[in-house]
Each structure stands twice: as structure tokens, then as C-alpha cells.
Symmetry: C7
Subunit: 279 residues, 7 copies
């Protein structure tokens, strides 16, 4: 979250100290946040009620519902993608492994869209699964129409599927982010990051979700253009887990550029790598 | 419900004591809840009216109507599912057995969707029954199209049926949770938990509804991977009833992995087990 | 209506006494109700305006429009159903017999849906009549498709007809309750209670409407599993009239398990029974 | 309008007297009404704005728009129906006979729907005429489908036409009441009262509109089961005019049970009767 | 506009005098209107905001949007119709004759719908022209279907066209009034007044618009059942102009009962008559 | 903009002077406007929020959105039309000639609809261009259906295209004005002014837009019925430019009655005339 | 942003100084902005809430949502177009080059619509990509229908595609600006600027987005009618980068008038030019 620094008059500072000593708050930051919140509520042109709930522009050109949809994504776990000459790696953090649940959840895992394309989402579950199913339909359609489901064409169609939800007022936007990875029709490994709130990028490596910013830091630290697939798996696991959680807390899948095949990384492989990453 | 603990200044504490002595409230928790309620009402950016009633994102990425739909489920009875190598058990708590009503209510019971699949819901009755009927249609369709109604494919289709209700603004979300259990096309017992508010999981055992959290505790205590079907029935009854209510207060059905058949557990069986569980 | 009891401080009590002596209110209950009403109006998160008017969830998972629809039913007369081995009895209280009106009102009476099925509604008249006509269409459809209009299948279809009105925001819910009784395709007498607000039950005996709770008490007192049809008629009349109104104030119809025929009970029969019930 | 009686403290009474002496109001009732109005405006849960304008349930199960539609009917003139063994009489009060207008107004009169069925409406003119035209279409349809336009079937179809307007939120309810009279397919004279707000009754005699309550009193006083058609015409004129207005202020039509023919009563006949009724 | 008379206390009167002397208002009526306006704004149950803007019933059964549509008509010029045994006259006041505009405006004049039917509207221009075009389509349709476009049938169809706009909430009502005159299929001259707000009448003579009430007074003064067509033209001109404006300020057209032909009255004729009317 | 003059009491005047001396405002008009604005905000029945934003009637029969659409037109440049026996002239002021833009803007110029019809719009650009394209379609349709695109028929169809936007609530009205000029099917030069807010007129000469009122004054001063086409061009340029801007600041096109051809006036011609008009 | 200068009374000035000295604000501009914001919030007729969020006219004829959409465009990077006799240059600023992203982003780059037409957008990504795809469809359609995709016809169709989003209330406007450049069917280089908020122009050179105004200044300084294509590329790079960022921060493409071919400018070329522009 962004930080705000502010110089205040001494009188104000003394008043804050008094409130803290009296136990009304733990520290000045807490009081300041409350003050800002209250102040904003008195300025109608900055935060009028209407913007929050409707998919419309605010005076400074923002669409609040899209920004809030991004927050919905931040509430989910972290997903990671790494692309290297030998293929693509997709990873998904499992925040809590419940002993009564089946892992991976067949509706919230890394999906094989097609033998050479994988997809993983974070955010609202049914929204995400809905897009995955839409992507599957698109793959079938592309195979029929063009004899081949090229990953870039697929992502294009997904962008066009998502767009209306960022503009219509009779539905809320989709509260998800997706990472799509695979081998394209020219045999190149490709990796895309797609947001329900409307953004789309092609990446060498990417991460999004609850721990997204920390994970991106890890990726920036470890990414090299000539990573081996093995190394890319290790980097993805590190970015997804961030701390020394257990190997069970991460799902990993690869699409190999040579075989053009989607493969889930086994627990044994993950355990071996995990011991190297968090010795 | 979540608990909040808070350190308060001595002056505030004395004021609370005075109000209680004067009879304005029974205890400090009561006063504190009232204070929180009132305080929230003064902060417009946290709880603006619009979010409550419309299916839209709040600034922190939540969709309040979906969370409220979860509350609707909590107002119903408890439903339970247990999956073991020998099959699946579904159970449903009947909170009150009215002598003038027929039990089980043919519209609010454990339904046989298909010879090898059962379904049970809790929450709003017509919402739940509507999804059950939708599931029946899907079963018919799958049988026609694929000669077989695989339980995982069925649950997929139900997720896609539920999703739009979590996103559209011209209807409220569905106020139900469903447990679907059965034998899949590879002869494996499977168990799924599906929420109208949008979540879906595959489970070894699960419970949801009014007494859901206590029931989950019982399941966690008693679940083992190698449970016999008989034992699974016992565990399900215990989780559904929680306390020593009568055997009439629970409905139980099983889908046996061998026979692949849905069967309602008789009152005699339930009585026998009940005597073992609550001796 | 629910009763609330509350302990108040002595000072408050004296203030209430003073207000009553001054003539501002008749008693403390009146003052307390006014105080509660006013207090609730100051708590935005409990009773925000939006919930009342829109078919949406409240924070505690309620759909107020559905609860208000139940109130609409309570404003109508009372309807009663009794099921016994020899058949089913349906009864309807006529609150006021207007000398200028034709009784029974052909649009607000006990309807013969089919030779072996009867239906009666209370609440908003056109809503109720609309569902009755829908039910007639369903009967015709079932006869065509399945050669037989089984009462349980019919009630299923009616539930599915009612459900969307409990969920859509562009119409209000249906403000009615219906009792459907008849002989099913296996020759068993069956009785169902169906609410526009969304509930559905199968019953041995049931009552709903203005005097519903008192009527249910009478049914609970008088119902036995082996009632003769004659006795069931008497019990239904007693539950519908509650007090010694005239025999003209009740409509009664039976569906006999043997003949499988719908029959309206004549005024002579009603008078004879009435003299026995209210001697 | 309902009367409210209230005991007030002496101090309040003196204050009211002072205000009246000072000229602020003409009498205490006026002041009390103002006080009630103001008081109600401070109680949000009783009269929230939303109910008035939307077709939704209020907390006590009322649909205000339907009640207001009834008020729209009360703003029109009075319409009357009388049914007797020899036939049916329909009458319509013309409140003001404008010398520049053609009387009867061809769009606001007693309509012949069919040789043996007549209809008359009061309330919003285009709403009423719209239903009359709908009824004509239904008559044509019934003739085609069933070779005969039975009056009860016709009224049924009109009820089903009116119902959605009492439930949908994208249109207002119909602001009319209609009286339909005629000879049914079994040669019986029949009379129905149908309200846009949703009620429907079969009557021996009925009246609705501006002077409806007074007219009903006249009908109750004069109705007998064995009225001759001639007598029924007189009773209908008396109920429609109430006071000694001119014979031109009433339209009358009969449907004779023998001839099964709709006939408008001539001015000469009306004048002759009028001299008997208001001697 | 309606007048209100009110007795006020002397103290109030003195206060009003003081305000006028101080220059705050020109007279007491001005102050009183302001006071009423302000007072009404404090009574929520009488004038809630919702009624104004939505096509819904107010508590006393009025539909404000329809009443406001009537005001829109009053903002336009005046239109007049006179019917006599020899034919029908339609007239339209041109409030201002702009030297740069073509008169008559081809979109806002007296239209020939059919050789024997004329129509003229006042109020919102595109609304009016839209209905005129709709009427032309109806004429074509009637000619096709019934070989003849009878004026009464045509007006019926126009009423049915207008009705939904008085009831739907997704459009505003039509802001126009129309006078339709012509010779019917039985060779009788007929004259109809039709309002977008929903009323329809058949008239001997009628006027509506800005100067409508004064014009009606002139018509009432001059109308006789046996007017010659020539005299009817004179009466229509007088009612439309009211004061001695120029002959150019009125458009006049006749439909002669003998020739059954629509004819625009020439400027020479108008000038000749004008000199007789305003000597 | 309209001017308001008002007599105020001396006390008020002195207070205003004091405020100006103190620097709170530049002059009394500024203070008065602020006072009026504030005063209006306190009178709910005159300017309720709803009217502004919705296409509905206000209590005095106005549709504010239509009046605001007129303001949108006033924000654009000025367009002018002049009709004379030898043909029609259309002119368009270019407020600012940007050196980086192509002039005339191919989407905001004088368009040739058809060899003998021209059209020019001012106001919102895409709205205007949309109607121009609609007009082109109409021309094609008319040519197909009637072998000829008569200008009056074309304008009729454009009026009917515009009308729904003045009445529907799900779109805003069109924010444009259009001048259509050409030679009709009887070889007469014709000129029409059409507003998105709903008005339509036939004119000898007309102007609308930012400088509309001043331009109309120039037209009224210079128009004669027997203008030569050459003179009409001069008058149109003068009315469009008003002051001695450069010849590049005006676009001019003519439709000659003899040739029936649309022709853009060249810069050389404009320069020559400009030197005569602004010597 | 626009600047406002204001004269204030000395007393006010002293008060502002005191507030700054006390530390409540950094300078007078800050205080003044806060004051203006607060003042505006008190004037209901100028900034009522409704306008912001709905696509409707404000009293002065503005459509705020369209103006806010322009702000959304200003939040993106800068795009530039330059047209010269030898061809067209399109450029796009990349504000930040992320080492983990692929540059250019395949969904946010300069697109080849057709061999002789290029397009580039700034603003909301999915909105922009959606229009690009729409444009591609139009190109395919034009090729099919007219054997050729002329750039002006294409832009026309794009304007018509964009218009409804500026008028409908059920979607927000498109938050993008597009520059379309290419060679038309007469072999002329053409350049168009198209805004989602509704404007469209043909240009010699143009720039829009975050640094739009500064970029336009650079274009005005450097544009000459006889620029060589090489020089145009240099000018476009300078306008897009504005300051001495790296050559990687700009994408450039040309459509050569001779070859009629779209070509992306290579990094080497950009580097060479960049050294000349920012020596």
C-alpha cells in the first residue's frame, strides 16, 4: 500500500500524543488514517457514492469498480509464471492446505487448456473457473476454424471476452487475474498476464495475488534470459511460496518447448527443489 | 462469529461500568457492539449503502451480496458429506420435526440425482430446489450427449450455472450451499461442496450450515482415509446432529462404490448407530 | 407477534411514568415500541432502506421482500388442509360474507385442478389466481406428456414457477400461500403447502393466513393418523373458523381416496357438522 | 376515510386552543392531522420513500402502488351493476355534462363487448379503454377457439391480463375498475367487479368510484333476489346518481336474459324512472 | 391556475406587510406562494421526490408525470376544433410569425391525414409529429384491411398507441394534445380531442393549449347546433386568436360533409372573416 | 442568456456594497447569481435533482435534458443557411483553424447528402456525424423506394429518427442542431432547421450555435425574398463570421436551383467576398 | 491543468498566512483548492451527483462522463502521428520498460490493421484493444464489400461504432484515444485522431495522452508541409519522448506512400535518430 508522509503543526502533534496516551489509539498512523477517512467523507466531489458501485468514470478518469476488482484479486493466493527458452512454468500458491479438502481442488488449480497451453487464475473462484471454461471453448473453436489453437490468438479472444464486463453497468467486472503460458504455433514459449479489471501483458516472468509484490521482487532478482527449465521451476516455486512453507503449498506445471506437452510437477520433484531453495 | 479483543483507556472503562450500573446495558460487550455499529455508520467510505444491496465490488474487493448469501446458508440446517474408499455418505440435519409435516420433506431432503449421484442442499428452499432440478436436467443432458453422467462434469456445469448469479445486478445471488457426492466414471467415490456465493471444492469430508463450524470440528476429529462405509455413516450422523438429538433429526443416504447405487439409510439403522454415538 | 421483555434503569422508568401521566402515551409498551422504532432508524447497517424494497440479501442473510410477502399472506383469510387415509380435505375461511357478493367467489375459492387434485390460496387475489391458472396449464401439460397429472410432479413444477419471483429484481415476489391436496398416482392422499415467499412442505395437516397460528394449534390438538374423512372435515372446519362463526363462513372440499373425485361439501353438511363442533 | 380518536394531555389541548385563537388553524383536527403528518415523516421504518413509487411489498405486506391505484379509481365517476333473474343492468354516472362534448363519450361509456356482454369502467381513461379493447380481442379469440364467449371465461382472461401490472416494476399498475355483466353460456345473468389493483368478485350488485360507498349503501337497501329487470334499472339509476341530479347524468344499459341482447336505455325511459326515484 | 384564499392571523399579516415595505417582495400573494412552496418541502409524505420523475401513482391516485405532460401542452399555442352539420373546422394559432420562417411550418400545421380527415396538434413538436405519422400509417392500414379509414376507428387506434406511454417507466409520456376532425363512414362530421396524458373525448367544439381556457369560453358563447360551416370557421378563428392579432396568426382548415374533402382556408378568406370578427 | 432585473431594499444594497468593498466579489451581479443559485437549492419542488438527469417532465411541463441538449449545441460553432430563388447556401463557422489539422475536417464539415441536398451540423461531433450517416442511409432508401430523395420526405424521416431520443430514458438526447438545404422534387429551393432537442422548422434563412443570436440578427437585417445566389453567399458568410475573422474561418456550400448540384465555395471566392463584406 | 488567479480581501489573506504559519497547509494554492472543492460541494445546481455517473447532459450542455473519459486517456502514455508527402509515422511512448515484460506488448503497441493502415491507442487497454479488433473486422468487411479498405471509410465506421457508447446509459463511454494513419485509395497519406469521448479530426500531425500538450508544442515547432519521411520519424520520436529518455521508450512505425507498406522502425534506427535529437 502507498505511504503518505505529512508535516503537521506542533499543536496537532501534541493533541495526537494526548489521544494515544489516553489509550484511544495505538499510534499516530492509526489516528491519521482515521482522520483522512473522515476528511474524505466530507468532500463530495472526490468520493461521491455513485462511482463506487457503478462502472462509470470518476472525474479523474478512473473506474473505481475496476480498481476494486483488482483488490478482489489481491485477496486470493499468489500465482506465478516464468518463461524461458526451454518452456514455460506456471505455479500457484495454496495458502492453507485443509486436511479435509482434496488438493489440488479440481476447480481451482493449474488447468491444461490444450496439450501445449496451461492456465492458472487467482481471485473469485467461479469467475475464474468461468473464464477457464470460456478459454476451453475458444480452444475448441480455434482448432475447428484454424486447425490449431495458437496461444496469442487465444489470449486475444479472452481479452475480448473480458472487455464488456469492464464497461457494462448490469454486471460487476470479473474479479480475477489469469496467467496463460504455452508454446505458440512458431514453437516459441510464451507467457501472458490477463486481468479481469482490463489489463493484458506479455511477460518473461510475472506474479499476481496476495503476495504479488514480494513475488515480483523474487522474480526480478532471479530471472535470466537463459534460464534452464529446471531453474525456472525453482524460481517459480520460490516466488510462489516466498517463505519456507511446505512443498505441498505450491502447485507447479510446465509446458516443455520440445515436447509441447503440459505436465504437472510431482510432489517428489517439488520436495527436492524446496530443500535446495530453503535449505 | 469472529471475536474482537480491544484494550481501552481506564476512563472509557469507568464510563462503561457506570452505564451498566445505571441499567443501560447488561454488559460491556453489548455496549461495545453498539458503539462499533454506531461508529461504522459515521464512516461513509467503509460501508456505503450501495454495496449492500447491489452485486458490486467494495473498495477492498469484496462483494457484500455474496457474503450475505453465505449468511442465508448459515440460517438453514446443517448438511454433511463424508467420502471413503467404500463410498460416499450424505447427511442432513432436520432442526425441528413438526408432527404435522411429512418427513423427509420431498422438496428439502437428500435427492438421488442419478443412480450413482446424490445431492443435498441447505439455505433458501426454492433456490436449492431450483438447482437440484437444474442438476437433474444436466444429468439427462450428459447421459444423452456422453452416454454417462460423470459427477465431476456435472459439478462443472453446476458451477457455470451458478456463476452468473454472482455477477448480475438484476437478480440476487443464490442463497444456498450444496453437497454433491457419488461415484465417478472411473469408479472413485467423490464429494463436492458448492456454494451459491461462488465457491467450489472437492472434499474428503465437509459440513456447512447453521452448525457448520462445530460439525467440521467433529469431522476433523473423526476422519481417517481408510474409514469403512459403516464408520463414515456414523461420523456423518455425529457431525450432523452434534448433540444427542433424536435419530429422527437426521437424514442419511449413501452411494456405495461397489453397487454404484444411491440408498437412503433406514430409521432402524440410524437408531442403532445413534445409540453407539450418544451412549 | 414476538414479545420483547426488557429490564430498564429506574430513572428511565420514572421518565416513562411521567410521560404517561402527562398523557403522551397510553402505556409503557407503546412508548417502548416508539423508542425501538426510532432507535432502529439511527442504525444504518441494520435496516438500510435498500433492503426493504429490493429483492436482495440483508447482512444477516435475509431477503426482506420475501418476509414482507409472508405478511401479505397474513392479511388474507385462513386456509386449511387435512390429509387422512380416506382422502384429503381443503377448507377456506370467508372472513366476511357480503350479501351483495356471490359466494363462493369464482376467483377466490377452492378450485378443482383436476378430478383428483384441489387447490386453495390466500393472499393477493390476482397473484393467487394467476398461479391457479398456471397450475391448470401444468395439469394439461402433464396429462399430455405423461398421460397422468401426478400431484407431486405438479407441485414440483409450481415450485419452479414460483422461484424466479423470489430472486428477480424487476418484479415483486408473489404474495400468496397455496394448499394443494389430492390423490397421487400411487393412490395415496397427499397434501402440500406452498408459499410465494419460497417455502414448500408436504403435510399431514396445515393452515396459513390471518388466523394461521391459532388454526395450527387446533390441528395439532385434533389430528390423528387414522382420522376418518368425516372427522377430517370436522377438524378442518374447526381450524378454519376457530370461533363460532356461521357455517356460511367456511368453504370445504374433499378429494376421496376411493373415488379419486373432487367434491364440494354442501351447506347442509357444513351446518350439521358446525352444530357438533360449536354446540 | 378512517377516523382516529385520541386522548391528549390538558397542556397540549391548551396549546392547540391558543394556536386556533391566533388564527394558525381552523380547528384541532386540522392541527392534529398536520402533527401526525410531521410525526410520520420522522419515522423511517414506517413510510420509507421507496415503497410509494415502486411495486414492492411494505414491511406489513402491503403494495402501496396498488392502494394508490385504488385512489385513482376513486377520483373517477361512479359505476354500478345490478344482476337479477331477468338480466343485468350496468350504469355509469356522468359527473358533469359539458355542452360542448358528445354524450356518451364513445371512449368512456358502457360498451357492448358482445351481444350478451356489457362492460363499463371508471378511473384513468386510456387505461380503461385499453382493457376494453383487450376484452374485445379476447371475445373474438374465444369465439374462434370455443365457438362461444362465455362471460366467466372472459373475466378469467381479463384477470390474467391485469395481474402482471400488479407485479412488474417497469410499469405502473392499471388505474381502473371495471364492471362486466352479461348472460353466460348456461343462460344465467352474471355480474363481475374487476379492479386494476388486483381484486375480482362476482356480485349480485356492486358499485365503485367516487361515490362508491354511498352507492353501495343504496344497493344494499334496495336489492332483492327477485327484482324485475325494470326495478333493477331503477335501483341502478338511484345508486349511480345518489342525489337528484338530472337523468342526463347517468348512462344505463341492460342485457336481457331472454333476448340475450345488449340494449342502451333511452333518455325517455331514464326520465320516466328518474321522476319516480326522485319525486 | 387554481386560486387559494386563506384567512391569516393579524400578527402574520403585519409581518407580511413589513416584509413588503422592506422590499423583500412585491405583494402578499408572492410571499404566500413562497411560504407554501417552502412548507410543502418539509412534508415528505405529500410530495416525495420519486413521484415527479417516475410514471407511478401518488398516494392520492395521481400520476404526476401525466399532469406535467398536460403542462407541456399548455406551453404550446392554442388549437381549436368546431363541428357542425355542414362539416368540421380545425384551427391553429401561430403565436409569433417569424419573418425568416416559412409559414405554415410543414411539420407543425394542420395535416391532411386522409381526404376526409384532418389533424392538428400542440405541445412538443417531435412528439406531435410522431403521432401524426403514426396516424398516417394507421390510415394506410385501415384502408388496406377495411377498405375505408373511419375516423372513429382511427382515433381508437391512436388511443391504444398513446396508452403505453402513460404507463411505462422507461419513457416519458407524450407531451401533446391533438384534435382530429373529419367525416365518418356514415357521412357524419365528427370531432375528437386526444391528450398524450391520456384523455379522449368526442366534442362539438373544443380548444386546448396556452390560451385554452379563454378559447373554450369563446366557443361556449358562440356555439349553436345548427352553425353553418362559414359561421363555424369564424367561431374557430375567434377562439384561436382570442384578441385582435393578425389573420396571419391563425391556420384554418375544413372538411366539408358534402365533398368529404380537406381544404385549407386561404389568407384572403381569413382576412375577410377577421375584419368581421374584430371590427 | 436571459437577463433578470430586480428591485431590492436599500439595506440589502448596502450589504452587497460592503461585500464588494471587502473583496468578496467583483460586482453585484456576481453576488446576485450566487444568491439565486443558493436560494434555488433550498426549494425542492422547483429544481429537484431527478429532472436534470432523467428525460422526464418537470412540474411546469419542461424536459430539462432537452433544454440542456440545446446548451450543448450552443457550445459548438455557428451554422447558417440562406434560401433564395436561385438556390440554397449553407455555411459553417470554424472557430479556430489549427495549423496541424486538416480543414475542412472530413467529419465535421458541410456534407453533400445527395447531388441536390446538403447538410451541416453543430454540437457534439459523433452525434452529428451519426445523424448525417443516418440521413445518407435514408437518401439511399428513398432512391430505392421512390426513385427520388425529396428533401422534405428526408427531413420527415430524420425527425422520426430523432424523436425517440427525446423520450427514452436509457439514452441521452442528441446534442446537435442540423441545417438541411436543397432543391425539392418540384425544383424549389428549400431550407430546414432541425434540433436534436426536438424542434423542426422550414426557413428562408436561419442560424444556430455559439453565435446564433447575433447571426440571426445579421440575417434579419440582410434577407430579401429576391436575393441572388451570389448575394445569399455573402449574407451567409457575414452571418457565420459576424466579425472580421479570416475567410478561412468559414466553410460555404451552395445547391444551385438550376444545376441542382451541390458545390463547395472555393477559398478564392470566399476571399473576394470577405473583402467586400469586411472592407 | 487550467490556472485560476483570484484577488482576495486583505483579511482573508492574513487568515491564510496564519494557517500556513501554523502548518495546516504548505501554501495558499493548496488552501484555495481545498476551499474551492468545499464551496462547489455546497452548490447543488452546478455539480449534482447524478451528472457524474450518468451519461446525461448537465445544465450547461456538458456530458461529464465524456469529459472524464478524456481524463482516462490522459492517464495513459502519449501517442503521436505525423503525416508528410512521403507517408505517415505513428509513435507510442512506453512510459516504463519493465525488464520482466515483453516489449512491445502485443496488445498495446502500434498495430498493422492492413498493409497500408496502422493504428495506435492510449487509455484503457481492453477498451483500446476492443476497438482495434473492431477495426480489423471492418477492414475485412470493406475488403469483401468494396474490394478495398479505404482509410477514410474505415474511420467513418469506427466513429459510428464509438457513438452509441457516448449516448447509452447502460455502459460507460470508451476510455481511449486512437490515431489511425495510412495511405488512402487515391494514394494520399492520411492521419486521423479519434476519441472515445466522441471527437474525430483529420490531422497533419497530432499527439494525445499524458504528455499530450507538451508533445503538441514540439509538433507545432517542428512540422513543415514538405517533411521527408525520415524527418517525420525524428519529429515523432521527439514528440513522443519529449525528454532524453532511452530509445527503447518509444515504438515507431511508418506507412510509406510509395510501397504502401506498414513497417516497424528498428531499435537501431531509433538509436541513431535519438542520438541526433538529444545530442
Amino acid at each position: 500500500m502507498p505511504e503518505v508522509r505529512v508535516i503537521i503543526p506542533e499543536d496537532l502533534d501534541r493533541a495526537l500524543d494526548a489521544l494515544i496516551r489516553a489509550g484511544f489509539a495505538g499510534n499516530k498512523a492509526e489516528l491519521t488514517r482515521a482522520a483522512i477517512t473522515h476528511f474524505l467523507s466530507t468532500i463530495p466531489t472526490q468520493l461521491p457514492k455513485g462511482y463506487d458501485v457503478e462502472t462509470a468514470f470518476s472525474p479523474d478518469g478512473r473506474v473505481f469498480q475496476l480498481e476494486y476488482a483488482v483488490e478482489a484479486v489481491r485477496r486470493g493466493g499468489t500465482i506465478v509464471g516464468v518463461c524461458c527458452p526451454e518452456g514455460v512454468v506456471l505455479a500457484k500458491e495454496l495458502r492453507k492446505v485443509d486436511p479435509l479438502e482434496i488438493t489440488p481442488n479440481p476447480f481451482f488449480k493449474i488447468f491444461e487448456l490444450h496439450e501445449s497451453i496451461g492456465i492458472v487464475y487467482c481471485g473469485l473462484q467461479t469467475d475464474g473457473y468461468n473464464i477457464v471454461e470460456e478459454a476451453k471453448k475458444q480452444v475448441e473453436l480455434l482448432k475447428k476454424e484454424e486447425d490449431e489453437a495458437d496461444i496469442e490468438t487465444l489470449v486475444k479472444n479472452m481479452v475480448l471476452f473480458i472487455q464488456p464486463f469492464t464497461q457494462r453497468k448490469d454486471v460487476r467486472p470479473l474479479g480475477v487475474a489469469l496467467i496463460v503460458g504455452g508454446i505458440d504455433s512458431k514453437n516459441n514459449p510464451r507467457l501472458f498476464l490477463l486481468e479481469g479489471a482490463g489489463g493484458v501483458k506479455e511477460n518473461k516472468a510475472c506474479a499476481i495475488g496476495l503476495g504479488g509484490e514480494e513475488s515480483i521482487g523474487i522474480l526480478k532478482g532471479g530471472y535470466k534470459a537463459d534460464l534452464r527449465l529446471e531453474e525456472a521451476i525453482g524460481l517459480a516455486i520460490k516466488a510462489a511460496l516466498r517463505e519456507a512453507k511446505k512443498p505441498e503449498n505450491v502447485l507447479v506445471a510446465t509446458i516443455d518447448a520440445k515436447t509441447k506437452a503440459f505436465r504437472e510437477v510431482t510432489l517428489e520433484e517439488k520436495e527436492r527443489m524446496w530443500r535446495q531453495i530453503f535449505p
